[in-house]
Symmetry: C2
Subunit: 405 residues, 2 copies
C-alpha cells in the first residue's frame, strides 16, 4: 500500500479539511491517507478547542485512514521543529509522499526556493542576525533575510505563514534526503487567519471565533463542518462542560508564575533573554490572559512566541526537557490515536519494519517524551471539574479509536 501524509491540527476538523484530504488523495494517488496531528496544545501556543480524542473521529470519516499524534515537544514550536517532528513521524510509518496546502499550489516553487536557500544560506544567516540585532522579531527578521535571497516573489512569498510551514516541510524532507515526495495543493479559502465565515468552507480561525463568541454551534458554523465534528463538539461540551481557550487557564498560569522565582522561570523552555523578568513584572498588573500577553509583547516577541512560552510554563516544560528533542535524530516513538480498517491493514503490514515503537496509550510506556505528553494532558484538563478531568484523562490510557470504513 502506498501512503500519503498530511500535517494538521484539526482545531476543529471542518469542510476545508475534507476538501484538502480529497485533493491530496487525488494528487498523491495514495491508498492510505495518514495525518499527523498536534495533541492538546497547538503550534500557535494555544489549547485545542476540544481534546485530541474528539478531533480524530471526523477525520476518520472523511478520508483519513490513520491519525498519529505529533509529540508535544515538536507541536508547540516554531515551524522548523514542528516540521521536523511531523515529517519524521510520517517517515517512520513509511509514507511515500507528504501533501500540504500553499498559496501557489506549485511544488516547483518550493523546491527551487530550497535550492536557492541552500546555496545562499550563509547570506540568509548573516542578514537574519543583523536584523535580529535591531530588536525585531524572528519572523520579521527572517522575512527580510528571505527577501535578500530573492525568496519573496509573487509565486513564492516566504512572508506568508502557509508558505513558511510548507518551506519547513521541504527543508525537513530534503535536508535528511528522506525518500518522500513533497506535494502541494492550492488552498481553497482566502487565508490562514481569515476572521469571518462566508460559506461552507471557512478557516478554523473564523469557526473558533464564532464558537467562542456564541458559546454554541450557530447555523453559520453548522454549514462549515461535517456532522461528526458537530457531534464531537457537542459531546465534548456535554462531558467536559466547556471548550478550551486560554482565558480559562488564566488563574492557573498566573498562580504558577506568581509562585516561581525568576530563576525557575528562566529554566522554562523558551524563556530567554531576560524574558523571565518581563513575565514576572507584567503578571502583577495583568487582569486577563490576553491583557497579560499584550503587556509582555514587544517588537522582538510575537504574540505566538509568547503564547508558546505560556504553554511551556503551564505544562512545566523545561529547557532540560527539550534536550531529548534537540539531540534526537528521529522521533522516539509513533503514537497512534485512531485508524480505519484500511489504516489498520496498512499498519499491520508496516509495523514489523518500523525502527521506533508504535505506541497507542500512555499506559505502560515510560519514554521521557511520553511523560511530557502526560504532563501536557494533565495541564490541558486542569480547568475541568475533578470527575470530568478524570473521565477525559482515561482516554489517554485506552486503545486507539477504530472506525469501520
Amino acid at each position: 500500500m502506498n501512503a500519503c501524509g498530511l500535517i494538521v491540527e484539526y482545531n476543529p476538523f471542518h469542510n476545508g479539511h475534507v476538501h484538502h484530504i480529497q485533493e491530496a488523495k487525488k494528487t498523491s494517488g495514495a491508498d492510505c491517507m495518514i495525518a499527523v496531528m498536534s495533541g492538546d496544545f497547538l503550534q500557535r501556543g494555544e489549547p485545542a478547542i476540544i481534546d485530541k480524542f474528539h478531533r480524530v473521529p471526523a477525520a476518520l470519516q472523511s478520508g483519513i485512514d490513520i491519525v498519529l499524534e505529533l509529540p508535544y515537544p515538536y507541536a508547540v514550536q516554531s515551524s522548523d521543529l514542528f516540521a521536523k517532528g511531523s515529517v519524521q513521524t510520517l517517515h517512520e510509518v513509511g509514507v511515500s509522499s507528504i501533501c500540504f496546502g500553499s498559496e501557489s499550489g506549485d511544488i516547483s516553487h518550493f523546491i527551487t526556493s530550497y535550492e536557492i536557500f541552500k546555496e545562499k544560506e550563509a547570506i540568509y544567516r548573516k542578514t537574519l542576525k543583523t536584523h535580529l540585532a535591531k530588536g525585531i522579531s524572528f519572523p520579521e527578521a527572517s522575512k527580510y533575510a528571505y527577501r535578500q535571497l530573492g525568496l519573496s516573489t509573487p509565486e513564492m512569498d516566504l512572508a506568508k505563514p502557509n508558505n513558511i510551514l510548507g518551506f519547513s516541510y521541504i527543508k525537513a524532507i530534503l535536508e535528511k534526503k528522506l525518500p518522500i515526495q513533497p506535494l502541494t495543493i492550492q488552498r481553497t479559502n482566502s487565508g490562514y487567519h481569515q476572521q469571518t465565515i462566508t460559506g461552507s468552507i471557512a478557516s478554523a480561525t473564523s469557526i473558533r471565533k464564532q464558537l467562542f463568541k456564541e458559546r454554541t454551534i450557530t447555523e453559520q458554523v453548522l454549514k462549515t463542518m461535517p456532522d461528526e465534528t458537530i457531534k464531537q463538539l457537542k459531546d465534548y461540551m456535554n462531558t467536559a462542560e466547556t471548550w478550551h481557550m486560554w482565558e480559562k487557564y488564566f488563574q492557573i498560569i498566573h498562580y504558577r508564575v506568581m509562585t516561581m522565582t525568576t530563576q525557575e522561570l528562566a529554566e522554562v523552555h523558551g524563556v530567554d533573554e531576560g524574558l523571565e523578568y518581563r513575565i514576572k513584572k507584567t503578571a502583577k498588573k495583568a487582569i486577563s490572559f490576553n491583557d497579560w500577553v499584550g503587556r509582555v509583547k514587544t517588537k522582538r516577541y510575537t504574540w505566538t512566541r509568547i503564547q508558546r512560552i505560556f504553554v511551556h510554563i503551564l505544562t512545566n516544560t523545561k529547557k532540560s526537557d527539550m534536550k531529548m528533542v534537540e539531540s534526537a535524530s528521529t522521533v522516539p516513538y509513533v503514537r497512534l490515536l485512531g485508524m480505519t480498517k484500511t489504516g489498520q491493514a496498512y499498519l499491520n503490514n508496516r509495523k514489523k519494519n518500523m525502527d521506533v515503537p508504535l505506541v497507542s496509550s500512555l499506559g505502560r510506556n515510560n519514554s521521557p517524551m511520553l511523560q511530557l505528553e502526560e504532563k501536557a494532558a494533565n495541564a490541558y484538563y486542569s480547568i475541568l471539574s475533578p470527575r470530568n478531568r478524570q473521565q477525559l484523562f482515561m482516554q489517554e490510557l485506552q486503545a486507539p479509536i477504530i472506525f469501520n470504513d
Copy 2:
C-alpha cells in the same frame, strides 16, 4: 517600658483571645503587649480564613499593642521550629516575658519537665527512634518517648497539643538562655479542638466550622467575637468575595502536582521518604482536597503533616529554601503588621537597639525570606479574581496598621 509576648494565630480573633490578653497583661505586669502572629498560612497547614491584615485590627482594639508576623518558613512547621521563630522574633523586640495558655496554668510543671527532658534527652531520642521505626507518626512516637521520661502526668501531659506548644516555647527560651520569663495561664475553654459553640467563649475551630457551614456570620458566632472581628470578616468577604479554606485551592494544587515530576516533588520542603510517589499516585483519584489528604494519610503521616506539605507545594517552598532557616541563629528581620500608639512608643525606643531590621512592607527589602513571604501571599490570594487579588496584595506594600489607643 516592659513588654510581654504572645504567640498566636487569631484565626479569627475571638473573645477567648481578649480574655487571654487581659490575663497575660495581669500576670506579666507588662505595659506593652506584643503578639507574634502567623501570616496567611497557619501552623496546622491551612490558609487563614481571612488575610493577616484583616486579623490585626481586632487585636489592636483588645489590648495588643504590637502585632508582628511570624515568617512563613517558621509558621507552617511542627512545634519546635514554630516556637523557635516565635520566641526569637519576640526576643528581637526585647520582651521580658512570654505568656502562653496551657491545661494546668502552672509554669513550674513546664520548667520541671524541661529539666527532666534535658537530663534524659538521650533516652527520649532513643525511644522516639524505636517507635518511629515501627511506622507510627512523630506525634505518637514522641508521646511514647515523653511517657518513658515520666512526662505524662495529670499535671503535665505532653500528649496534649497546647502543652506540646508550651513545652516547645520553654525549650526555645531555656536552650538559648534568653532573658525572657516564661509565663502560663490556664485555658478558659475546654480544648484546643472543641467542635461546637456553647457560649461567648468558643474555640477558633468551632467558630470556623460555623462560618464555613453557614457561609455567613450566625447569631451564635456573633456572640463569640468582638465587633471589630465581625467587621473585618464582613469587609474581607466584601472585598475578596470569599473566605479562605483548603477546598478553594484544590484545582490549583492538583494542577500543580499533576504537572510536576516525582523528582521535582521530592525537592519540596517536607516531601520525604518517598512521599512524592504517594502524592502523585493519590492525585489521580482525588476528587476534593479532603479526599486527597485522606488518601495520602497513613499511620506514619498525620493529617496536619500532610496539610503542611500541601502548603509548601502550593507556595513552591523547596528544601533548599529552608536552609536559611536551619542554619540561622535568629530571625533575619522582624516584620511589623500593626501597632497602637503605645506600641509605636515602645518600638521607637527599642528600634535603635535591635540587632535585625524592623520591616513593615515587602516593598524595598530583598531578604530571601521576604521573597518566600511574597510567594506565600501570592499563593494565598491566587483563588481570587484578578482585581481582588491585586487590591488585597497591595496591603503587603503599605505601611503598618496604626490604631489610636
